[in-house]
C-alpha cells in the first residue's frame, strides 16, 4: 500500500482560544493534485499553512513523508515544500532570475547550474530569457505569478503548496495559468496542495477535492464523485450555486463528465470539424457550433477525445 505523503491526524488549530480547525484527518497521496475548496473562513488556508509550519497547529499530528513536521528543522521542511501565494509576493528588489534562484542559492547549487535551470523554467512557463533581468514591478500580474510558480519549483521540492494563487488574476490569465499548472504537474509528478474558493477551479484542477466548512472537512472525493454524490446538502448547494452560473465558466470537461459527449466518428463531417481543448469553456463551443455541425474535442496532447453536436449541447443546456 502506498503511504500518504502528507497526513493530518486529529489536528486542531485555535486562534486566541477560538477553534478554527476541528479534528482534521486527511491523507494526501504522492503525485496527487489535491484541491482544498471552501468559502472564506472555512479553514482551508490555515490547513495549508500548517503543512509548512507558517502556522503551528494547536494539537494533533501532521506528517510529511512519514515524519512529523515538528521533527524537521524549519529550513529542511520548507526546502521540501514549494509555496505559491495569492499575493504572488515576488521580492521586489531582486530581478526575476534572482527571485527564481532564491532557494537553489541557499542550497549552494553551483551558479552555472542555477543559471541554466532558471532559463529552462522560464521557457517552461512561456517567458523567454529576456525576462531574467527584469524587475517584478515591470511584469503583468499573470507574468509575475508564472515567476512565482517557478520560484516554488526551483528547489525541486516534492510538495508544492498553492494558496489561492490565481484569485487576484483576470479570467484570461487565470485560465492559462490553470492549464500551465496541469501541464507542470503532469511533467514533474509532484504533489500539489491547492487552495481555492472557486468551485470551477477545483473541479478543473483537482485529482481529488476536499471541501471545507467552519474548520471541518465535509467531503473528500474525486470531482466526479463529488458532483454525482454530494455528501450533504451544503456540498450540493455549493456546487449548484457555483456551477453553470456562467457559460464562460462551464468547461468542456464538465459537459463531458455530465455525459453529453458524442462518441467517436470517422465520417467526412468529423474530419473537417473544428477542434477544441478539454479546458476550453462552453461559450467557445457555442461559437464553433454556430458555423459547423460538429466540434471535435481534443486533450492536452492533441488526441481526439470525442465530439459535440448541436443536439448534445442543447440537451446539456436544458439540464442547467
Amino acid at each position: 500500500m502506498v503511504e500518504p505523503l502528507i497526513e493530518f491526524k486529529n489536528v486542531f488549530k485555535k486562534f486566541d482560544g477560538k477553534p478554527v480547525i476541528k479534528d482534521l484527518n486527511l491523507r494526501i497521496m504522492p503525485g496527487e493534485l489535491f484541491v482544498l475548496v471552501g468559502s472564506s473562513g472555512s479553514g482551508k488556508t490555515t490547513t495549508l499553512k500548517m503543512i509548512n509550519r507558517l502556522l503551528e497547529k494547536s494539537s494533533g499530528t501532521i506528517t510529511v513523508a512519514g515524519r512529523p513536521v515538528d521533527d524537521y528543522s524549519l529550513t529542511d521542511l520548507r526546502w521540501k515544500i514549494g509555496y505559491v501565494l495569492q499575493q504572488i509576493a515576488l521580492f521586489p528588489t531582486m530581478t526575476v532570475a534572482k527571485n527564481v534562484s532564491v532557494v537553489p542559492d541557499m542550497q549552494h547549487v553551483a551558479s552555472r547550474q542555477v543559471h541554466a535551470m532558471v532559463d529552462n523554467l522560464l521557457t517552461e512557463v512561456g517567458l523567454d530569457k529576456g525576462f531574467r533581468n527584469r524587475m517584478p514591478g515591470e511584469l503583468s500580474g499573470g507574468q509575475q505569478q508564472r515567476v512565482g510558480i517557478i520560484r516554488a519549483l526551483a528547489g525541486k521540492p516534492p510538495i508544492i503548496l498553492m494558496d489561492e494563487p490565481f484569485s487576484a488574476l483576470d479570467p484570461l490569465a487565470r485560465e492559462s495559468l490553470q492549464k500551465l499548472i496541469l501541464k507542470l504537474h503532469t511533467k514533474y509528478q509532484n504533489t500539489i496542495v491547492f487552495v481555492t474558493h472557486d468551485m470551477d477551479e477545483a473541479l478543473k484542477l483537482g485529482d481529488r477535492i476536499g471541501i471545507m466548512k467552519n474548520g471541518r472537512l465535509l467531503q473528500v472525493d474525486t470531482p466526479k464523485d463529488i458532483t454525482n454524490n454530494p455528501a450533504n446538502k451544503f456540498v450540493a448547494d455549493f456546487f449548484s450555486h457555483n456551477r453553470y452560473s456562467d457559460l464562460n465558466k462551464i468547461l468542456v470537461n464538465q459537459v463531458i463528465e455530465a455525459g453529453f459527449m458524442v462518441a467517436r466518428r470517422s465520417d467526412d463531417q468529423a474530419r473537417s470539424a473544428p477542434s477544441i481543448e478539454q479546458m476550453s469553456n462552453l461559450k467557445e463551443v457555442l461559437r464553433l457550433l454556430a458555423s459547423a455541425p460538429l466540434v471535435r474535442i481534443i486533450d492536452g496532447s492533441g488526441k481526439t477525445v470525442g465530439y459535440f453536436d448541436n443536439e448534445s449541447i442543447i440537451r446539456f443546456l436544458s439540464t442547467i
Partner: protein, 505 residues
C-alpha cells in the same frame, strides 16, 4: 562683495581646516548614529510598544535646544570634539531610527511570508529581503540626519570643537558679515555635496559601500589616534574666549613662555568659547591656561556676594575665592580695564577740556548721545552714570556699530563703549575717566590650576611679566590692528612684547 572675496582669499587655509574639522565631526556623528539607530530599529520592530517608547524618547531628545544640550554635556564629556559628536549623534538618532523602523514595518506581510516559506533564516531574510526593501526610506532618513548634523555642527565651535562655526562666531564677534557668509555658505554647500555623495552610495553595491566606509573609518581613525597619541606629549594648551583681544593675549602668553623654555610645546586654542566652557575645560585639564577678567571671576565663577571697590581688592578677593573653591591659581592682572566707558571725539575733548565723566557737567547743553540699548537698560549703565555724576542729556538708542558711524559723522557727540574697542582707535575717540568708579572693574589675568602652576614655575614667572602692563590705549591699538588692519594676532602680540622688551627679537 570685494570685501567678501578678499576675506575669502585671506582665510582660504583656515577655511580648508575648518571644513576638514566640520566634515570629520559630521562624519563620525552620522556613522555612530547609523550604527546605533539601525540595529536598534531592527531589534524593536517586533515590539511596537518598545518602538513607540524609543520614538518618543528620540523625539524628546531632538527638542532639546542644541546649545542647552552642549551645556548639559560639559560636566560629563567636557569640551571639544567628543561632546560635540555626542550632541550631534543625539540629534541624528530620530530620523534614522524612525525611517528604519517605518521602512521595515511597512514591508508587505506576504513578502515576509514568502521569505519564510522559502526557508530563509532570520538574518538572510533581513539582509536579502527586508533591508533592501527598506533601503530607500532608510537612506532618506540618513540624509535628513546628515543635513541636520552639518547644520548643527556649526554650534560645535562654541565648545571648542572647531569647524565652520568658528567662522560664523568670529564673524558675529567682529561684526564681519563676510566671515559669517563664508561659514554659512560653506556649511550649506557641504550639506549639498554630502547629500549627493549619499545618492552615489545608494547606487553602489552594498559590499562596495561597506568597503568604502570601512576605508574612511580606518584612515580617519588612525589619523585621530595619531593626533591623540601625539597630544600625550607634555603640552601646554592655552585657550582664549571669542575675539581678537583674547587671541592677542594668548599669543603673548605663548611667546613669553617659550622665550624662557623653548622646549615646551605650547598649543593655542583661540575663539574657544564662552566663560563657562573655558572654566570647565580648565578644571578638567583639557586646557591649562586662559586669560580671565577679575570682574567675571567674582560675578560668574565664584558668585561672590560682595564686590570690593578698588581694582586691587577685587583681584585679591577673586584670587582667594578661586584658590579656595576650585584650587585655581590666578596670576597678577594687566593694567587695562575692559569695562564700559563713555567716549567722545578727541577733538571734542580737547576743545572743552574733558578728561573725566564729571567734566561733562560743564557741557551738558551741547551733548547729543547715541548709546546701545543694553547700556541704556542696565542698572549699572546709563542710569547709574546719570545719578552718580548728576548729568542729563538727550540719548538715542542705537546699534553698537551704528554708534561709531554716527559719532564719526557728527550726528552725535557722545557714546557708550567698551574701553578696549578697536573702533575707539579707528575713529579717534577718547574714553572719559570714570573717576567715581561707577563701572565695574574687569582686569585680565592668566588663570590656571594650582597643580599646573606648581609644575610650571617658569611659566608662572614668565606670565607675571605682563602684570601691570598694557594700557587701555595700547590694547585698543592692538585690537585695531587685528580687527581693522587685519594683521595676525600673533604678529601684533609679538610686536608689543618686543617693543616693550618683554622678550628679545
Amino acid at each position: 562683495m570685494p570685501d567678501f572675496v578678499q576675506t575669502f582669499m585671506d582665510r582660504k587655509a583656515a577655511l580648508v581646516q575648518a571644513l576638514g574639522q566640520h566634515l570629520a565631526i559630521s562624519f563620525w556623528a552620522l556613522l555612530i548614529a547609523v550604527v546605533i539607530a539601525i540595529p536598534v530599529a531592527i531589534w524593536v520592530r517586533r515590539y511596537p510598544k518598545v518602538a513607540q517608547v524609543i520614538l518618543q524618547l528620540t523625539g524628546v531628545l531632538q527638542t532639546i535646544p542644541s546649545l542647552a544640550l552642549l551645556g548639559l554635556l560639559i560636566p560629563f564629556a567636557g569640551i571639544g570634539t567628543v561632546p560635540a559628536i555626542i550632541a550631534l549623534v543625539v540629534y541624528a538618532l530620530l530620523p534614522i531610527f524612525q525611517n528604519t523602523y517605518v521602512g521595515l514595518t511597512e514591508i508587505d506581510p506576504s513578502t515576509e511570508e514568502a521569505a519564510d516559506a522559502m526557508g530563509m533564516s532570520r538574518s538572510r531574510k533581513l539582509f536579502r529581503v527586508e533591508l533592501p526593501m527598506a533601503m530607500p526610506i532608510i537612506i532618506s532618513g540618513i540624509r535628513t540626519s546628515m543635513v541636520l548634523i552639518i547644520g548643527t555642527a556649526t554650534l560645535a565651535a562654541l565648545i571648542g570643537a572647531g569647524g565652520l562655526g568658528n567662522f560664523i562666531l568670529l564673524g558675529i564677534d567682529r561684526n564681519n558679515t563676510s566671515l559669517i557668509l563664508i561659514g554659512a555658505i560653506s556649511a550649506a554647500l557641504l550639506a549639498i555635496v554630502m547629500s549627493y555623495f549619499i545618492t552615489i552610495l545608494q547606487k553602489m553595491k552594498f559590499r562596495n559601500v561597506v568597503i568604502l566606509i570601512g576605508t574612511i573609518v580606518v584612515i580617519g581613525g588612525s589619523f585621530a589616534g595619531y593626533t591623540a597619541v601625539s597630544q600625550l606629549n607634555q603640552k601646554v594648551v592655552i585657550a582664549g574666549k571669542l575675539g581678537a583681544e583674547p587671541e592677542i593675549l594668548i599669543n603673548m602668553y605663548k611667546d613669553l613662555i617659550t622665550a624662557k623654555d623653548p622646549r615646551l610645546d605650547v598649543e593655542l586654542k583661540p575663539n574657544f568659547g564662552k566663560t563657562s566652557f573655558l572654566f570647565s575645560a580648565l578644571k578638567s585639564n583639557q586646557i591649562n591656561i586662559y586669560p580671565e577678567f577679575t570682574g567675571t571671576v567674582l560675578e560668574t565663577l565664584t558668585h561672590s556676594s560682595v564686590t570690593p571697590k578698588t581694582p586691587a581688592a577685587i583681584y585679591r578677593l577673586g584670587k582667594q575665592q578661586l584658590a579656595q573653591q576650585d584650587h585655581m591659581a590666578y596670576l597678577k592682572p594687566m593694567a587695562y580695564n575692559n569695562t564700559y566707558g563713555i567716549a567722545v571725539k578727541e577733538s571734542f575733548a580737547q576743545r572743552y577740556h574733558l578728561k573725566t565723566i564729571e567734566d561733562l557737567q560743564q557741557v551738558q547743553g551741547k551733548l547729543k548721545a547715541g548709546m546701545s540699548m543694553e547700556f541704556m537698560d542696565r542698572k549699572d549703565g546709563l542710569k547709574l552714570v546719570e545719578r552718580r555724576y548728576h548729568i542729563k542729556f538727550p540719548v538715542k538708542g542705537m546699534e553698537p556699530e551704528l554708534r561709531y558711524r554716527a559719532i564719526h559723522d557728527n550726528q552725535i557727540n557722545l557714546i557708550d563703549c567698551y574701553s578696549t574697542d578697536s573702533e575707539l582707535r579707528q575713529y579717534h575717540l577718547t574714553v572719559l575717566q570714570d573717576n567715581k568708579h561707577v563701572f565695574p572693574i574687569y582686569q585680565g589675568a592668566p588663570l590656571m590650576t594650582q597643580d599646573f602652576a606648581k609644575k610650571h614655575p617658569q611659566a608662572v614667572s614668565s606670565l607675571n611679566k605682563l602684570a601691570g602692563k598694557i594700557s587701555e590705549r595700547q590694547i585698543q591699538q592692538m585690537n585695531y590692528e587685528v580687527n581693522v588692519l587685519d594683521q595676525s594676532p600673533a604678529s601684533v602680540a609679538r610686536h608689543y612684547l618686543v617693543q616693550h622688551h618683554l622678550i628679545k627679537e
